[in-house]
Point group: C2
Chain length 220, copies 2
Amino acid sequence: MARKDFGQYCGLARALELVGERWALLIIRELLTHPSRYTDLLEDLPGIPTNVLSTRLKELEQVGIVERQVAPAPQRGVLYALTEDGQSLQSAVLTLALWGNSRLGEQQASEFVPPSSVAMAFRATFNAQAAEGLSASWEIHTAGVMLYVVITKGQLTTGIGPASPDPDLVITIRSAQMPTFQAVLKAIASGKVETNGREELLGALIEIFAPAELLASLGR
Amino acid sequence: MARKDFGQYCGLARALELVGERWALLIIRELLTHPSRYTDLLEDLPGIPTNVLSTRLKELEQVGIVERQVAPAPQRGVLYALTEDGQSLQSAVLTLALWGNSRLGEQQASEFVPPSSVAMAFRATFNAQAAEGLSASWEIHTAGVMLYVVITKGQLTTGIGPASPDPDLVITIRSAQMPTFQAVLKAIASGKVETNGREELLGALIEIFAPAELLASLGR
DNA sequence: CTGCATCCACTTTGATACTG
DNA sequence: CAGTATCAAAGTGGATGCAG
């Protein structure tokens, strides 16, 4: 373990010692959007070796970032989730992702869009002012995954999975591949979606989440 | 290089591919506070192997984060500096450092405080409101290093090195080891410093940079 | 002196196979 | 489902050498 240490009394160095290893922050991104079991993480992070996942989870658990939970009745098995300390990494993850977004370039054929990155984008672009006082919930179905966006009195929660309780509006986007966040908003803005529920809530998503550039590119 | 790729079209993954390798963000932290030559970096990042530094600098240069410059007349040699893209990593570095600060714990005897982390702390805690319209400059001398803090019409620039032009106030803190940012502010607040210049600017530093908790711990 | 390149021991990672 | 075991390949750390 001494090899990992930088020997610096510095927040950045300490952060890198704790979550700077390969795959660590991607695991944390997954857990920020949904508690996962071991095999979920293997699926969501294709390419991660099983032993590395196993090692990272142990390390992250040891330093109090990740928690093992025994899953409740219906599922059973082990669930990994973030502790409060782990959750507090969210702003750092969002800031790094924001920088990385500007250097994404064109999507390669070999690259897939992680659903959790779309959920994170909802958090990053949330316009709290536009949502002030609002309570509403959406469920977005696309490429075989489900994403929930719930706003309760202006507070956002979003992640992978079904909305609970029942969402006010279900939005279905037909797509074989997972679309990017931008593509999702574009589909919504251009009406290329199927809806089920309170359709008047469709436009609200755009108002609340579309960044200025995107609005411009949509001609609004 | 294919090994480094995560195969994800995601800002976080891309960021980690570009600056996620060992030592990379620490190099960037150094360059955020002062352009450096190769040997400066070796000194400022004790423990980094020469070949790793060399490799990182090449990689970071190749992806447009770092620039090689031929140093001007007096010094000669090669200077490494951040490009604009590199500078834009600052918010990510600050956010990560902020999280890491909360997990620093007690300083170990084997740990040193990197001067650049103190400069970064000045940026992180800068209270723009308190500095609105102000123009003033400080130079802090301690443990053999010099730190400048310059505010021009409310805009902060800070880093390692002398202030130019001449600072309004020079503050000397006697200390063998580099003190932490908190220790610097504490020394200033408690008057355990020597000054040279416009002494009335001493208190302003506290008003502008002390975070609320620190003010509380100082009994203000 | 600066700015690396080279060499070697060691560690981490990736890929695959296998087990309770 | 939730990991271990194994092994090759790549990366890292430490020391040294060397040209400009």
